[in-house]
Every structure is written in structure tokens, then in C-alpha cells.
Amino acid sequence: MATDRIDIRHVARLARLALTEDEIATFGPQLGNLLTFVDELRELDTDNVAATAQVIPSRNVQRADALRPETMLSREAALQNAPQAQHGFFRVPRIIAEEG
């Protein structure tokens, strides 16, 4: 059964998403049902079929390695929406733990 295939806690960890017990109880079966639904793709023959990542013809887009002032944000504008900023930088909680 599809519900049993998905370890919802593991997936939530990969997604950096904390879930409550209620959400785990809700999302687990819903995702299981959705997986059952998408399983119908198995019956579609895709041997020797190329994967389509973009439907229109695309090519690598390159530009000169030069500043484009018209699209650059000032430091002030870049920090305008920061939850916390200090001395012109984004401020975040400690990342590197103390030893021991």
C-alpha cells in the first residue's frame, strides 16, 4: 500500500519542514493516496523516450562577466526585508556549535 511506502518524518527532515503530529497524521495518508494516483504512470511506456525538462528549444544563456547596475540591488535594498540585519549583513543564529 502506498501509505506504507512513504516515511513522512524522513521526507519532512529532507524538506527542512517541522510537522506536528496532526500534520503527520493528515499528510501521510494524503501523500500515500497521491502516490497511488501517480502510480498510473507505470503503465505508460517510456522506454527509449527522452526526458523533457523544457518544452521549448533552449540553449545555454551567457553574458559578459560585468556588473549590471540596472538590475543590482543596493545593500540597503537587499537588507530591507531581512528579518534581522547587523552592520550591513544578514544576522542568523549560531551555525557552528562549540566543541564538547
Binding site: R16, F27, T52, Q54, T71, N81, F90, P93
Partner: protein, 507 residues
């Protein structure tokens, strides 16, 4: 003088360019009208009257200096997943509730430069994920034709604003049907151009290989006008197509002689109920009466569209939404370390539908499942696109329903898969990247309802054939004029009997 509430964009622009009306007068008419009407509809998350006045003054100055502007004085609503400098840009989410955009999306900028007046930012399903508008974390927008029913999603507010006469034109974004389905629900024309035709720079991404900005309007002519202004290559978007945009406006046609209209065998409408089936049969008969030849075409892989979409779109969403981590913008929930901060911020900031899609996308991309789900879906997309290409060897345009029902009541669909089925007809078209639109095609009284609700006819054509598509839709619209037969409730309340001026011919 023009009536900015009821007139077409073409008529308004003509009047302003001819100095029969000023943009300032239009702004001063629309601002109180929208404030009053939106108390009922809740189409807008933010009204921007000062911005509208500032743009109106600029337009009037440019007209006085001798310029002619294609959208002079045209009231414009903008889906709130598009950045407009200085406006709150929320994507309908708590995680961006207080985000102020530091730049303006290219599509919006081109319309403003052409003389459009920004009324405000419209409500949407959170991060454009939904088929009803009910997934907005901030507001519930009502259907302008029955306030107890949904406006459709995800471009809920943009569709409701145009259908409810709170904007002349608006912008939406369509990933799997998010322009066409709400347009059908709200009696509007909703147009999704070929993927890559309109720049996505400044659009908050949901599923990058599918997202496309497009217009809502009350006529095909107005939709074509907006598209002609905002389409075309943008070096700021690497997926923007670098090929000339053929103006669609001069090629709007009056009949369908010599046009082969494909009716998809697998999209038979008899399962949709007798009244809906009759509505679409009449629409196909009307196309034939205009001179079109109806041909049956097959899309055997279309039935895999939903499954394909609900792997590809969540996979891309899980990747795109990884940027919302509480560091640089948006909500932050404080925690002892940065990992906990990420998890708590995203838990508090995202709503249930977004979480559901992030989880399924993360799963589909995770080690051990990537080939079985994500790559398989990408191959299925190839098969679907190939089916369309084969179908277009036999026809010029494919006609089908835009949605499987008219607008339904709030909370009517609680099962996610049942909700996803609403997009059955639009999703395969999106996976193939095709240009497509929904044009009003009649009305039915839905189960449990007492008022006739609008229906939409979806038309789709091969890649990069917007000009032909808009021409076909224009011919159908001119012959049938279904949109004119319904009056939104807010306008009934104002006692308006005659809502629409005759469609203006393009100068």
C-alpha cells in the same frame, strides 16, 4: 468621455490618447469604485491608490507631450506573486506577508510604461498552488457571479477583479491552468501564452518549467492588446524566448472558414453531466457555424497529464521554495540554531497545500525515487507533447472544456486529488507548453445553485501561434457574446443594467 468601470481597454486607451478623458479622471473614478465593490468581493490584497494617481499623472504628462500610449489610462490589477517596487508582494502566504518588493517584474513594467494604471495586488492561492482560490493564507475572494462560490484558482483575485468589473485587465500566472480555470469561473477571457513568450523576471516561482504570466480581460481584443505590449524577449529571464513577437492585434478575425478544430476523443464531455455536455456541444456547433471543420483527434496520453504534473510541479516547487528559510526575507521564527530556525520558520510560514506539495516534491526528488518518479514524469511529458504534435497534424486548434464544472461552493472539495481533477483539461496543454486560452461559452446552473454560472471554452494551438489562437477566439467571441449575458452581483447591487460598451475596434 469614457466609462472606466465598463469600457474595454481599447476604448479607454483611445479616449485618453484622444484627450477625451484624462488618466487622472479614470483613477479618481476607479479608486472609490474598487474600494466599494471590493468590500463584497475581496479580490485585492492591497489597493495602491497613490501609485495609481502617480502613474496617471505621468500618463497625462506624456500624452500632453505628444506621445501615444497603447494602454493609456487602462486600470490594471496585478496578481500578488509579481513584484512591483514598493508594494507588499505576498504570494498569498504568511511567509511573505510583510515582504516589500525591491524591484518590478518585467511584464508589469512593460504595461506600466505603456500607460496602464496599477489598481492593486490581487489575491491568489498560496504560491499559486490551487484550483479554487481557497488556499490563500490571507483572504477569501468570492466569485463575482455568486458570492457563495469560489472564483477559481490560483489567479483568484485577478479573475474576480476583471469578471466583477473591478479592473479592466489584470495579470495572472498559469502553471497548470491557473489563468484559464478561474477565467472560466469568473466570465473572463484568460490567456496563457506559449511558455517563454512572456518574461518571468519578477514572478515568484512555483514550477519554473511551467509558470507563465498572462492576461485576464473581458474581451479577446483586450487580452491581445495586453499580450502584445508585455510579450517578447527579456534578457533578464534566461528562459525567455528570443524570437520576434508577431503582433496579434491586426490579425483578429471574424470567421473560422478553412480552420480545422480538433475535438479530443479522450475529452468527451458526456461524463460531466447533461447540462455541461450540452453547453460544450453547442460551443462546438457554434465553431462549425462560423465555418470551421470539426475533426476528431486523439490524445491517448492526456489521461496521464495529472499524474505527470503532480510529480513535476511539486518537484520544482520543493526546489524553488527552498529559498524561504527565514534568512534574507520573509518570516523568521527564532530558534537556538539555524537548522531549527529553518524548520520552524517554514512550518509556521507555509500553509497546508504548500507543505503537501513540498513533501511530495521532496519525495519524488529523493535518493532512490528520483528515476521512478521525477525522471519518469519528465519522459511522460515528452510523450504528451508528442501526442499534441501529432494531433496538430490534423487540426489547427484544439477545443475542449476549460474546467470540468462551473464554480463550486466554498469547502466543497476537501480531498486534494478531487481538487486536482479540476485541472484535467488544462494540465496536458501546460505540460506541452502550448498557448491556450479560455473564452466564455455559456452558463449552467450548478448543483445546489440558483444562479447561472459561467463556463469557459479552452482553445489551444501549436507553440508560438498566439496570433492564430487569438484570432480564432475573437471570431468565436464576436459571434456568441456569451460574457455579455451575465451580470456580476456587485453590479446588480449598484443597479447597473447595461454593463458593456460595444467592443471597440482597434484603431
Amino acid at each position: 468621455m469614457t466609462d472606466p468601470v465598463r469600457d474595454s481597454a481599447i476604448a479607454i486607451a483611445r479616449a485618453v490618447n484622444a484627450r477625451e478623458a484624462s488618466a487622472a479622471e479614470i483613477a479618481e473614478t476607479m479608486i472609490p469604485h474598487v474600494a466599494r465593490a471590493d468590500a463584497e468581493l475581496d479580490a485585492y490584497l492591497e489597493l495602491t491608490p497613490e501609485l495609481m494617481r502617480a502613474h496617471a499623472a505621468r500618463v497625462d504628462a506624456r500624452i500632453a507631450a505628444g506621445e501615444t500610449l497603447p494602454l493609456a489610462g487602462v486600470p490594471l490589477a496585478i496578481k500578488d506573486n509579481m513584484c512591483v517596487t514598493g508594494t507588499t508582494t505576498t504570494a498569498g502566504s504568511k511567509i511573505l506577508e510583510h515582504f516589500i518588493a525591491p524591484y518590478t517584474a518585467t511584464a508589469v513594467q512593460r504595461l506600466l510604461d505603456a500607460g496602464a494604471l496599477p489598481i492593486g495586488k490581487t489575491n491568489l492561492d498560496e504560491f499559486a498552488m490551487g484550483s479554487s482560490g481557497e488556499n490563500s493564507a490571507l483572504k477569501r475572494t468570492r466569485n463575482p457571479y455568486d458570492h457563495e462560490r469560489v472564483p477559481g484558482g490560483s489567479s483568484a483575485g485577478s479573475a474576480a477583479a476583471v469578471g466583477g468589473f473591478e479592473a479592466t485587465v489584470s495579470l495572472g500566472s498559469d502553471t497548470g491552468g491557473s489563468i484559464r480555470e478561474p477565467a472560466a469561473f469568473c466570465n473572463a477571457v484568460g490567456f496563457k501564452p506559449t511558455y517563454g513568450r512572456v518574461s518571468r523576471y519578477g514572478l515568484i516561482a512555483f514550477a519554473s518549467s511551467l509558470d507563465q504570466i498572462g492576461p485576464f480581460a473581458r474581451s479577446v481584443e483586450d487580452a491581445a492588446l495586453v499580450y502584445d505590449v508585455m510579450g517578447g524577449h527579456d534578457p533578464l529571464d534566461a528562459t525567455s524566448v528570443d524570437r520576434p513577437l508577431e503582433p496579434s492585434a491586426p490579425h483578429l478575425r471574424d470567421d473560422l472558414r478553412g480552420v480545422r478544430v480538433g475535438i479530443v476523443k479522450e475529452f468527451a464531455t458526456s461524463d460531466l453531466g447533461a447540462e455541461i455536455d450540452a453547453c460544450y456541444r453547442q460551443a462546438y456547433a457554434d465553431l462549425e457555424a462560423l465555418g470551421a471543420e470539426l475533426v476528431e483527434v486523439e490524445l491517448p496520453t492526456a489521461k496521464y497529464g495529472l499524474a505527470t504534473y503532480y510529480l513535476i510541479a511539486p518537484a520544482e516547487c520543493s526546489s524553488n521554495l527552498a529559498r524561504f528559510d527565514g534568512v534574507r526575507y520573509g518570516l523568521r521564527v527564532d530558534a537556538a540554531d539555524v537548522g531549527e530556525m529553518y524548520e520552524a520558520t517554514r512550518a509556521a510560514g507555509f500553509g497546508p497545500e504548500v507543505k503537501r506539495r513540498i513533501l511530495i516534491g521532496t519525495y519524488a526528488l529523493s535518493s532512490g525515487y528520483y528515476d521512478a518518479y521525477y525522471v519518469k514524469a519528465q519522459k511522460a511529458r515528452t510523450r504528451i507533447a508528442e501526442d499534441f504534435a501529432r494531433a496538430f497534424e490534423r487540426c489547427d486548434v484544439i477545443a475542449s472544456p476549460a474546467a470540468s464544472s462551473p464554480a463550486f461552493g466554498f469547502n466543497a472539495k476537501t480531498d486534494p486529488v478531487a481538487m486536482y481533477l479540476m485541472d484535467y483539461y488544462t494540465i496536458p496543454v501546460s505540460l506541452a507548453g502550448l498557448p491556450s486560452l479560455s473564452v466564455p461559452c455559456g452558463a449552467v446552473v450548478p448543483d445546489g445553485g440558483s444562479r447561472p454560472m459561467p463556463m469557459g471554452l479552452q482553445l489551444a494551438t501549436p507553440l508560438f501561434t498566439e496570433r492564430a489562437l487569438l484570432g480564432y477566439a475573437h471570431a468565436y467571441e464576436r459571434a456568441t457574446r456569451h460574457a455579455d449575458r451575465l451580470t456580476p452581483r456587485t453590479m446588480e447591487m449598484e443597479g447597473s443594467m447595461s454593463l458593456r460598451a460595444p467592443s471597440g475596434n482597434r484603431a
